[in-house]
């Protein structure tokens, strides 16, 4: 049984079918990437898994338990952490306080949560900036803070929504190294990503979405050679 099981998931917005009958698995300890052109429905699937939307049809199971329709804070308590595509730091709080808020999910006392948060900041290379207000961080650091905060909630599955967007290639490679290490430590990761450099370097399995439907899945090297994938990315008359 996979850790996350998405079955025949559909969601429409005012008649526009954003996701249509999508099914895929994220195995325990796996690192799966969800890719596709803009408007393919990636973020909609993501938001259903994170509790922002309820699906119209289909189900999502996490660790064998249905989670579709739960509220975001219940999803977090169940063990799924998420980041936001447009980063949402608590701008007025210090970097450390940002992460303490997440850590309180697992450590009810503030001193325990502080210790947990300090450990996570250290792992993500933000320890030196712990007392700065989050508003003063650069974009790469804000993305790192976003990940640190989600990790502090102690997730079994981490949902990453385009964390590489806007990063320079070297910064992107650093992030890839962070996620690879987290994954090696046993954390399951599902990422939505446009940056193929990161997808090719990270993902064990890629799921390709187009017009709300899954058109291909497999290892990264296979998927990028799939004619259907090339067609949706490059247009049907292109010869490769």
């Amino acid at each position: 049984m996979a850790l996350l099981e998405v079955r025949a998931l559909s969601k429409s917005f005012r008649g526009l079918r954003a996701v249509s009958g999508a099914s895929f698995d994220v195995p325990e300890g796996g690192l799966v990437a969800l890719i596709g052109p803009n408007g393919a429905g990636k973020t909609t699937i993501f938001n259903m898994a994170a509790g922002v939307y309820s699906p119209d049809e289909g189900q999502i199971a996490f660790g064998g338990r249905r989670i579709d329709g739960l509220r975001p804070h219940q999803i977090c308590a169940a063990g799924i952490g998420r980041t936001f595509q447009i980063v949402k730091p608590f701008a007025g709080l210090s970097v450390l306080d940002n992460v303490i808020v997440g850590a309180l999910q697992r450590e009810p006392g503030v001193p325990g949560a502080r210790a947990r948060a300090l450990g996570i900041l250290d792992r993500l290379g933000l320890a030196a900036k712990q007392d700065l207000p989050a508003s003063s961080l650069t974009l790469p650091d804000r993305k790192r803070l976003e990940v640190a905060r989600a990790l502090a909630t102690g997730p079994r599955l981490l949902l990453l929504d385009e964390v590489m967007a806007g990063l320079r290639p070297t910064e992107c490679d650093q992030m890839v190294a962070v996620f690879r290490e987290l994954n090696r430590g046993g954390l399951t990761i599902l990422l939505i990503e446009h940056v193929m450099r990161a997808v090719m370097a990270l993902a064990q399995q890629v799921v390709v979405l187009h017009h709300g439907e899954i058109i291909a899945r497999g290892a990264p090297a296979e998927v990028v050679r799939d004619p259907a994938v090339l067609e949706c990315y490059l247009g049907e008359d292109t010869e490769v």
Binding site: A50, V101, G102
Partner: protein, 327 residues
């Protein structure tokens, strides 16, 4: 000295000065100081909702009024003293606050629309009380005034010095409670909700429940200010105690002093109340008759604060004293 030691020293000096004040001050100065503490207290209570949890209330007069009327009604109609009556006052205000909060948060009313809702509830409670004949209606509810040589603390009947110390105890208690709340799990969750509610939810925070808690605590604290108001002034009029100007006066202190800080409401109340009073005296001494001079003064101060210290006057002072970012 460490940051904590400096804050401790500041608090010790402040506490010693406030405790010793009745030895040096006459009854008039003591009444001004009581008013300062009153607004420091209500400002602190409002700050729990707005400064900590980011929920703007422009109707806190509702809780002052309900608290005042509850305790005064029990006292005048049934002879039940304020120390028992305050529990009913608190329960009533918590119920009102939770009802308003439930409606607003359940149906996703936030920001200025939430603020409008708080005004609406205060306003129609004001109009409602005008029609409760049993409590005096628009003619007001009065507590018996007698000359008190000794302080009767049990019934809160006494002179200026007693009321000063009662208000000092309330304001100190509110300060301690807020300092503790801010460092607790609730303080972290409230500030997270204030900064970004969606991100707070994603971190496992049941924002609905924590916002309701902020409203409940703020309403309960404010209700005690109402109980004090009733026994201090001995008269209550719906047009006065539920009036929006009452709500505005409550929030001016923390806005001028620094929203979300612990010392801001105290500093703001001290500055506004003493300066407004000095201005009133000056105008009277000059023999001028300028109605509304206090409101104009508040407007000017607010304008200056918004222009030059938009986070309030406490944060820059805290920085200068080496106390770190506004605590």
């Amino acid at each position: 000295m460490s940051r904590d030691a400096r804050i401790g020293a500041l608090l010790a000096v402040l506490a010693a000065a406030l405790i010793a004040l009745p030895l040096a001050a006459n009854s008039y100065l003591l009444s001004v100081a009581t008013l300062v503490l009153y607004f420091a207290y209500t400002g602190q209570a409002w700050n729990v909702m707005m400064g900590f949890a980011g929920q703007l209330s422009l109707g806190h007069a509702l809780y002052v009024g309900l608290g005042a009327y509850a305790a005064a009604a029990l006292f005048t109609q049934f002879g039940i003293g304020p120390w028992a009556g305050m529990w009913l006052a608190m329960a009533l205000c918590v119920a009102a606050g939770v009802a308003i909060g439930f409606l607003a948060f359940r149906f996703g009313i936030s920001g200025v629309y939430f603020a409008l809702l708080t005004i609406a509830f205060a306003e129609f409670t004001r109009i409602g009380f005008d029609h409760i004949g049993w409590l005096g209606g628009p003619g007001g509810l009065f507590l018996k005034v007698e000359a008190h040589k000794t302080a009767d603390l049990a019934n809160l009947r006494g002179g200026q010095t007693m009321f000063y110390y009662v208000m000092l105890a309330l304001a100190s208690g509110a300060f301690a409670l807020c300092a503790w709340l801010l460092r607790s799990r609730a303080g972290y969750y409230w500030r997270a909700i204030r900064e970004d509610e969606e991100a707070a939810r994603a971190l496992g925070i049941n924002t609905f429940r924590w916002k309701l808690l902020a409203v409940a605590i703020s309403a309960a604290m404010t209700s005690l200010a109402g109980v004090f108001f009733a026994f201090y002034y001995n008269n209550l009029f719906p047009e006065q105690i539920f009036h929006i100007s009452q709500s505005i006066e409550i929030i001016l202190g923390p806005i001028v002093g620094g929203v979300g800080t612990l010392f801001g409401p105290i500093l703001g109340a001290a500055m506004l109340t003493t300066l407004a009073d000095a201005l009133n005296n000056l105008v009277a001494a000059m023999g001028w008759d300028i109605p509304g001079v206090k409101q104009v003064f508040y407007g000017v101060i607010l304008l200056l604060v918004v222009m030059f210290v938009p986070n309030g006057i406490w944060p820059p002072i805290a920085k200068w004293l080496g106390l770190g970012r506004g605590s």
